[in-house]
Structure formats: structure tokens, C-alpha cells
Symmetry: C2
Subunit: 305 residues, 2 copies
């Protein structure tokens, strides 16, 4: 099953040019992850007809408003809808404080439980793991504690070559094959040799979310070969100094990083309000890395190799 990313917003700072603040929805296999949640995200969720009940995990990169001011609204709406499933919220220290304080003053006892997972700043650690996927924090370099997130599917099992395997297998036999084992008949003779009866496992999907940050050249090792990376590109390269001073990145810098790391596709986002037309940022990035795209709201990016 593919990895699919939908952009709900990608503008920085103030609202402008009908562009909303940062939020994304990532689907990996059957799970949905919301990444960042700027003000008005729940309006975007409505606009794009996303089922809120599907979202059990929300990851916040940092505590600048354009990345999380929509979170309390979403938390409240889920309560009004009568949600009962746990909601897992990942983010920097302080996020639980902020949410808890507002619930206290509104005297709200939510219809569901929030499970907070605050990460340790400046440290890369696995904050989510199930049998198919891990999410690891990517410490970024911003004015306040900020972390990206690396989504990586776990290595997949081998596929069964149906051109060779023409018999119906018991579940344990099929599993054994997918795990790389040979299969024997009851009398001990070889039924299927694994190397003949199976296909190599599919490549696991991966996605890296990197916003907000100044350029971190060492990131190339962290994101090497990922299928998809979202990297902030607040400015164009003629404003490199301003990017540096405000802890942001330029489109060219993001493209250079993507190129060096041999990623599949680069999505540019966190656009400065100074750019009404975003095509110059795209051109700048594409002159360095051809597989660059604008992470404009409403767009979907699918990885399916």
C-alpha cells in the first residue's frame, strides 16, 4: 500500500494569499498521521473532506503559532463529535502544559484520552513504533526547540512468486516463505526452495518532514534515499542571509540537500508571505534538483514504487 501525503497548509507566519498555515496529513499503510496543525486546520480538514475519526496521531514540530494554534480547536471538535479512542499527541516540552491549562479553564473533561509524547530536544529518538513503521525525531536548528519527523516503514517480507508457487499453502507455510525459509513436505522432501519461490521484498517507504530550520548540511545522512522529503524553503536564495538570521532555509539550499541525499522527491513549503507567486521558488529548486515540487494546500503526493 502506498504512502500518501496531503497538504492542508504551508504558509509561514501570517496568513496571506489565501494560503493557510502548516498542516499535513500522512497515510502510511492503514494509519493516518497529522503533522503540525496551524490555526484553521480544522477548516481545511472540512474543506478536503477528511474523516477526523481516522486520525489517532498528531505530531507537532515546534511551538510557533503557525504550526500549532489549530490544535486546541481540533481537540475540542473531536470531543464535540464524541470521540472515545485515545489521541496521541507528539511534540516539544510545553505542549502538554498548554493543552492541559486550556482544558482546565474551560472545565472540559474530554470524551477521550490524550496521550502526550513529548520528545527530548536536540536528541534523535524513536517516538512511535508499531509492527510496520517507526517514527524518529530529527532535531532541527530553529529559534526554539524544533524537530522534524522521519517516517520509515520496517523492512518488508519477501513476496510469494505465484508463477512458481502453484499449490495452496497453509498460513504458516506462506509466512515461512515470506520470512525467507524453504518449505518442506511432510515426508521431509523439499517443496519450495525460497530463492526460487519468492521475490525480493518491496522497498520500505519513507518520508522526512523538516520544518522549521536553517540549513543543516549533516541532515544529508539522516534523509539519505528517503522517497519523499518536505523541507521548508521560506525564502529564495537571494535572501540567504535573512534565512540564516531567522533560522530558515532557501529553496536552493533545500534542493541541494535533497540532491546530495538522493531523495525521491522534494516538497518545498513554509513559504514567506512576501511571495505571492511561488513559481520562482520552484524554478530555483528545480535548477538544482529536478524532482522538486511546491507543497501547496490541497495537493496530494503519492509514493508507490
Amino acid at each position: 500500500m502506498a504512502l500518501e501525503l496531503q497538504i492542508l497548509g504551508s504558509n509561514s507566519a501570517a496568513f496571506a494569499h489565501n494560503r493557510h498555515h502548516t498542516s499535513q496529513l500522512l497515510r502510511v499503510q492503514d494509519k493516518y498521521f497529522m503533522i503540525d496543525c496551524g490555526e484553521g486546520t480544522q477548516l481545511q480538514v472540512k474543506r478536503y473532506k477528511i474523516k477526523l475519526s481516522r486520525i489517532n496521531h498528531i505530531l507537532i514540530s515546534h511551538l510557533h503559532g503557525d504550526h500549532y494554534y489549530g490544535l486546541m480547536g481540533l481537540v475540542s471538535t473531536l470531543h464535540l463529535y464524541g470521540r472515545t479512542a485515545d489521541l496521541h499527541i507528539y511534540g516539544p516540552p510545553g505542549l502538554a502544559d498548554i493543552i492541559t491549562l486550556q482544558l482546565k479553564y474551560s472545565a472540559t473533561r474530554l470524551s477521550y484520552d490524550i496521550k502526550f509524547h513529548e520528545w527530548v530536544p536536540e536528541t534523535s529518538s524513536v517516538i512511535y513504533e508499531d509492527d510496520k513503521l517507526t517514527i524518529t525525531t530529527i532535531p532541527l536548528n530553529h529559534r526554539i526547540h524544533c524537530s522534524g519527523y522521519l517516517f520509515k516503514e520496517k523492512p518488508k517480507k519477501r513476496g510469494i512468486n505465484k508463477l512458481v508457487v502453484d499449490k495452496k499453502l497453509a498460513p504458516n507455510q506462506a509466512n515461512a516463505l515470506r520470512n525467507g525459509e524453504d518449505i518442506y513436505n511432510e515426508d521431509g522432501t523439499l517443496l519450495y526452495k525460497n530463492s526460487l519461490a519468492t521475490l525480493p521484498p518491496k522497498k520500505p517507504y519513507s518520508y522526512a518532514y523538516c520544518s522549521d530550520t536553517k540549513l543543516i548540511p549533516q541532515l544529508v545522512d539522516v534523509i539519505r534515499d528517503v522517497d519523499l522529503i518536505y523541507h521548508e524553503a521560506t525564502f529564495m536564495d537571494d535572501m540567504k542571509d535573512r534565512a540564516e538570521n531567522t533560522y530558515h532555509t532557501t529553496a536552493r539550499q533545500a534542493a541541494q540537500l535533497a540532491s546530495e541525499a538522493h531523495v525521491g522527491q522534494l516538497l518545498l513549503g513554509h513559504f514567506s508571505t512576501r511571495y505571492r507567486d511561488l513559481n520562482p521558488l520552484l524554478s530555483e529548486a528545480r535548477s538544482v534538483f529536478r524532482e522538486s515540487y511546491l507543497a501547496e494546500e490541497g495537493k496530494r503526493f503519492v509514493v508507490n514504487h
Copy 2:
């Protein structure tokens, strides 16, 4: 100069039917007051081309999200715009805590100062006064501390009757006339007798904002004769019990209150998401009080008698 109210949003609870959460902008003479500030209010401000720099006072009724989740976004945007003038924020205890905590975690030192004015719950008190206007809290009956706001112009000076006063007056003479005094010539003889040379003062304008609350019959004395009242009307009267249980009011109840208090106009708002079509609420109110209107977003109500 007229009193003018613009509705930015008036839906309750969750977003629905393209209706936004509660926020209003009131102009009294040359001053602008924002009342409540639900999520996305700054988007509505943009939509209706309101100059943010004009707003120096924001009043919050209570700490349910649909009335204040847009405030942090507005505070941040004013900072990004480089505001320097003080911003006065009025509201229940806790509001300063909530804002201060979020500014702390975002490491933001605002370009301007916020002056917090937290009122004392369950107590009516003057929270704003200048030479022309007072704002008094109206304790309401909701699940958490909640207050309405009564805006009252101070008694106005007498007008000069230009049919009688045909001479150019010195400023102190004109002021004395407007204050009700007679005017004398230098030789001590009467120049203008006040009762002949002036007109009665114009009636001061008044506006009462009452949301959220269950019906408070005693409110009739507080809002008597106001020009304009916004009163929540979350439900229709067939849901009176539900209104009572959830500390809300019906359209009929609001209209009865307005009728008994002899107000000028009643604006209904805080509509439940169950009503896609609001006309039945309007009809219900008008059957009791003819001067009832729907406080739909984008609408302006002007008092100019």
C-alpha cells in the same frame, strides 16, 4: 457618530455550514472593540478587510474555545505586523495565564504590550471608561465563568441651535452652551439663554452583548432600552429543556427578554450546528419581538438615531 457592529462569526461549538465561530467588531465613535475571537477570526478580519491596527481592545466573554481560540493567532499576527501600541485584553481569570504560557514556550517577546484586564466573576463592574463611553460586565449564567458586556455612551452635551445662534462663538462659549449654561456679553448682559439657544442632547448609544448564557429573566433591568442587543439563541424553543441543561437560550426566550426590556433591535446568534437554515429561528423570535435579526457573519448593524 453612529454605533456600528460587524459580525465576523456567530456559530456555536464546531464549525458548520460555512459559519465561523463567534467574533464581532464594534465601533463606538472613533474606537473599535473586538468582542470574542473564535478560531479563524483573523481570516474573517482579512475577508472583511478590517484594519487590525484600529483595534486596541479585545473583550472575551468566556474560555470555551469557540469564543477565544483565535486570540493567540491575532496576538501573533499583530506582533508580525510590528504593532507598537498597547493592546488591551479583557476577559475571565485564566486568560492572561493562557496567553502568557504560550508566549513563554514560543520565546516570543511581543513588539507591543498586552494590558490584561481580568474581571471578577459573578460581579458587574466597569472594566473600561473614557470621556465618552463605559463598558460594564454583565454576569451571565453559563457552565463556566462568563460575562456579557454593556457598552454605554456617557450622556452627551446639548446641541447648539444654529437657527438661534447666528454669531461665531469662542470655544469656551460654545462649550458652556453645550454644558447647559447661559452666555453673557462682556458688559454682563445676556447673549444667549441656554434653553432657547440649544437643543436637547442626543440620546447616548448603547449595545449589550450577551453570550453564552441560559435565560436570565433579571437581565431585563440591565438591558432596558438599549439600542442594540446581541443575545445568544443557540436553540429553538422546542429544545428549551436542552437549552436549559446546556446553559443556553432559545430564540423565543431571547425575543421575550428583548421585548420586555424595550430594546431597539435584537440580534440572534451562537447558532447550533443542527440548524443549517436559520430562518426558523428568526421567525420564532419575530413572532414575539418584531425587531429581531440574524447576526450572520458579514452583516453590519448600524444604530443612528
